[in-house]
Amino acid sequence: MTLKNYDYIRSLAQKGLRLDQREAFEGRRMAIKDNVINHSDGSAYVELGNTKVIAGVKVLNGTPFPDRPADGALIVNFELSELTSNYPGDRINSSIEVGRVTDRGIRESNLIDLSKLCVEEGKTVLFVYVDIVCINNEGNLFDAGNIAALRAILNTRYSIEGKEGKFSLPIDRTKLAISHTFTKINGTIFFDPSAEEENVEDTKLSIGISDKINSLQKGGDGFFTAEEVDKCIEKAIELREERFKILMDGISD
């Protein structure tokens, strides 16, 4: 990333233009592949433009937390290493943030009914591990990671010791909180930032939306006004339908 590009992207942004010629609220192409990992109980590979992530779900027995003896647990982890890009930035911190925000989106929307994951109260419950790994970072890991995690959870089929057959996770499909990330560069708001845009952005806002707003996360050093936050939410509500269609495409009832 050269300093020249930095100024160029920011001056374009002031005019409402983007380096890759997208409209302000135009997302990149999203493609999903199912069951890409044999050893997982559910998995998904997501491409958002050139951002590539894999999510794998494993459902394993575990000891319940002392304060929730009859509830299963959800553990979301996001892995981002030097393998994924050559852009500067604090990789380790940002990967923890992505993991925790993805976790919150799934947890707070109550997508998975954890009370149904109890095997023996106080002794054994099921732990749902969702591991998301970035392969190529071309920006907007929040959205790519979120979609990959949701899709992998949707297609998870796990087996239980001593029981016949495969089981799906107890999920409520009306509660899929889909992440929409906006970036603010030089006073203009754009949807679905690329890595170059993230590198010059002032601030960003990730919104997790089901029928209500389930999660928000402001990132970056800049600021938003209350009006700008509302504008992003309005756009996210509009954009959700398309993302939802792509997410559910090919998922059977």
């Binding site: 911190n93 940002s94 923890i96 943030e97 993991g99 925790r100 919150r104 947890r107 707070e108 929307s109 601030t203 806002l205 089901s210 209500k212 707003i213 389930n214 999660s215 928000l216 996360q217 402001k218 990132g219 970056g220 050093d221 800049g222 600021f223 938003f224 006004t225 209350a226 936050v229 509302d230 939410i233 309005e234 509500i237």
Partner: protein, 236 residues
Amino acid sequence: MYEERFDKRAFNELRPMEAETGVVPNAKGSARFRIGNTEAIAAVYGPEEVKPRHIEKVDRGVIVCKYDMLPFSVPDRAKPGMDRRDIEISQVITNALNRAIILEDMPRAMINVRVYITQADAGTRCASLTAASMACADAGLPMRDLVAAVAAGKIGDHVCLDLSKEEEDFHEGEGATDVPIAFLPSKNEILLLQLDGRVSRDELKKVIEVGKEGAMKIYELEKEALKRRFSNESKS
């Protein structure tokens, strides 16, 4: 239904607060902020030489901020040192301070901000940020304004200010929605905004409004504490 708050507060009422600066004499600036049973102590060192060198910036200063929940601050024992949650909160606090402090005035310098949570009862990231901004002001750093942070939210059908731990764990109906939010009051800018739970667009607007009102009260308290400190100093 949630008609009356557990601690009998009005829905837009903050818990009792205390603010004080200069609590860590060794530091360049320091502050203690207490809201209900949540207490944060912040200390600021610098501007000083940047270490490690690779994070140095030629055109502006850098802030390194660490938030740490002390082992005895929670009902169970928290593991000493920083966990994933602490790292994320450090990051969002740093983001907010990066805007509040005029870093362009101190190229090639580093500011170290350390925050301890001595007692945790919800709203720790907001208390940390409030304490950290007071400590920065106490250290005499060039700032756009103080930062005032508070957790607003929704419990049942009620928009609430300054949620307690008991309220955060409320599970009936739509449960609790927690919205930590930080303002730069004089410029009307939002520097920190997070949400988890379940709210509609209109409800969120109200939550932000209530948060703003609460933040303004915290802002006044911060200013008072700083004034008190500097009038004391001139006397002694």
